[in-house]
């Protein structure tokens, strides 16, 4: 596995370059797309629908949106990754995990760039300087490993069963609206009358604790909550274990099906 470290870095660098290859703005697009999305959602949920009265709404939105975009882009890109790199799989014997892992890593670069920008702006505007910021890397590493596990699973499943990606895409749309990206679960009128709904929204959806945790730290300057940290670490461990097991069990026939 260690002998293939160079392969992994090669795959990551190639994909980073390929992503915006031949475009005039190049890497700037990493930041432009999320910022445009932030603008659109601010207008929609902050001004037109007025979901909740939240101060500095674009900043509130942006933390959740960055995490969600990473989640969504990693899953969809990873599902296709083995198929796109089928020519490598048919060429030689190498740890094929490197392919979906490289895809997630490329997405993680975008996440870090966007989140760094958002954090700097939020700290400057809201002054949320707290020692809790030290926990941001913990959440990010856990989130990265969580998606690495999911990516291993969906990439190998989609290689055999080409309906996996459409199923994921269909599932991501409703999940977006149920994820506390543009709202605060506790302050929804309906939820205040039925508190159990908040529990479901906050803990059943595996993305929610990551978003709530990071937003507590960056946006609110508050403690992320021990529960969310543990949840993140545990989700990462379970996803990695399941994803890796599934990948290793199923990868044998990849050169045949790709």
């Amino acid at each position: 596995m260690l002998a293939y470290r160079f392969l992994f870095t090669q795959l990551v660098r190639r994909e980073l370059r390929q992503k915006y290859k031949g475009s005039a703005l190049g890497v700037v697009w990493y930041l432009v797309n999320p910022l445009v999305m932030m603008g659109a959602y601010t207008l929609m949920f902050g001004a037109i629908l007025k979901v909740q009265n939240i101060p500095d709404y674009p900043l509130f939105l942006m933390v959740g949106l960055a995490v969600w975009s990473f989640f969504q882009a990693s899953l969809t890109a990873a599902a296709d990754s083995l198929i796109l790199q089928g020519s490598l799989v048919r060429k030689a014997r190498f740890p094929r995990e490197a392919i979906p892992a490289a895809t997630v890593t490329v997405q993680a670069v975008t996440l870090c760039a966007v989140l760094a920008l958002v954090t700097v702006i939020t700290l400057a505007i809201r002054g949320t300087w707290t020692p809790w910021l030290a926990l941001v890397p913990v959440f990010l590493v856990a989130l990265y490993l969580f998606l690495l596990g999911l990516a291993l699973a969906v990439s190998v499943l989609h290689a055999y069963f080409r309906d996996v990606l459409p199923i994921i895409q269909a599932g991501l749309l409703p999940l977006f609206f149920l994820t506390p990206i543009y709202f605060n679960t506790g302050h929804l009128g309906y939820v205040e009358r039925h508190p159990w709904i908040a529990t479901v929204l906050n803990w059943v959806n595996p993305v929610a604790p990551f978003i709530e945790g990071l937003r507590a730290i960056i946006y609110a300057g508050a403690a992320p909550g021990v529960g969310r940290v543990l949840y993140g670490v545990l989700a990462a461990a379970v996803a990695l274990l399941v994803g890796r097991t599934l990948f290793l069990r199923m990868q044998g026939e990849l050169a045949v099906v790709l």
């Binding site: 048919r90 060429k91 190498f94 069963f161 026939e253 099906v257």
Partner: protein, 259 residues
């Protein structure tokens, strides 16, 4: 001898190797296929055609072996199994040392990247690191005769240029086992000769060559042992002239049968 003795570099071992393929178009793409572990079952049903049936071979370091057989005899499957790209259903396949394969011309290349970048990628696929590839880069580029085209995306390459690049990389990766399928025939005579010299050097150093080809003269030139496969079984294993004769007989009987 114990079946798990580690192989010396260049040694190749196939023990009762058996592998079949599902020929149904939707073999793996169904939910059922998914839950039955994606076609891993090895039973021979009408939809499963055998590619290798109980094949046992032992090839020693420094040997040059040509594999011949009619279409669908299991030649390419044998190479893919040896390269570790597809698994066996029964039996064991193992190669000692570093295995380098040239199975499909374009495999492992990425079209939008330059020849130089593709050298790094291919090297990385075989587990080389940057320094190891840096050290070989000038030799590979010179051997390929691609000149300034090495900086150009390979989607602009002709088949011949692609072949030269692929071969130049493969012969500079210090292979202990070289697995070559057909592709040798694509290049021009001059480049072919250069490759054969380079391959002969490696073989002199203890590397092993397994060549699959329909070009019998290429086999005669490069190999000193021939294995004839038919319907997934070894029907001949031995000296080149006798092996090629056996193969010609097989092709003749087939032609006669269809007439």
């Amino acid at each position: 001898m114990s079946p798990r003795t580690p192989l010396v570099p260049g040694e190749i071992l196939l023990e009762h190797a058996t592998r079949s393929f599902d020929v149904r178009a939707d073999a793996a793409g169904t939910l059922r296929g998914l839950f039955s572990r994606a076609g891993v079952s090895a039973e021979l049903t009408p939809e499963r055609i055998p590619a290798l049936l109980d094949v046992s071979l032992r090839i020693g370091p420094g040997e040059t072996v040509g594999i011949v057989g009619r279409n669908g005899a299991g030649k390419t499957s044998t190479l893919k199994v040896l390269a570790g790209i597809i698994p066996l259903h029964h039996g064991r396949a193992a190669c000692g040392g570093r295995v380098v394969s040239l199975l499909e011309l374009a495999a492992g290349f990425s079209r939008d990247f330059s020849g130089r970048e593709n050298i790094y990628l291919q090297g990385a696929l075989y587990g080389f690191n940057r320094n190891e590839i840096d050290a070989r880069l000038p030799d590979i580029i010179e051997f390929s005769e691609l000149g300034h085209f090495i900086e150009v995306p390979i989607r602009t390459y002709s088949q011949g240029m692609l072949l030269r690049l692929g071969f130049s990389i493969a012969v500079h990766l210090d292979a202990d086992v070289m697995l070559i399928d057909e592709v040798l025939a694509v290049g021009d005579e001059g480049f072919q000769g250069k490759c054969l010299v380079r391959i002969a050097d490696r073989i002199g150093a203890g590397a092993t060559l397994v060549l699959v080809s329909h070009d019998l003269s290429a086999i005669e030139r490069a190999c000193r042992r021939v294995v004839v496969l038919d319907h997934g079984r070894v029907v001949f294993d031995g000296e080149v002239a006798a092996g090629l004769e056996r193969y010609r007989t097989l092709v003749r009987t087939e032609t006669e049968a269809t007439l």
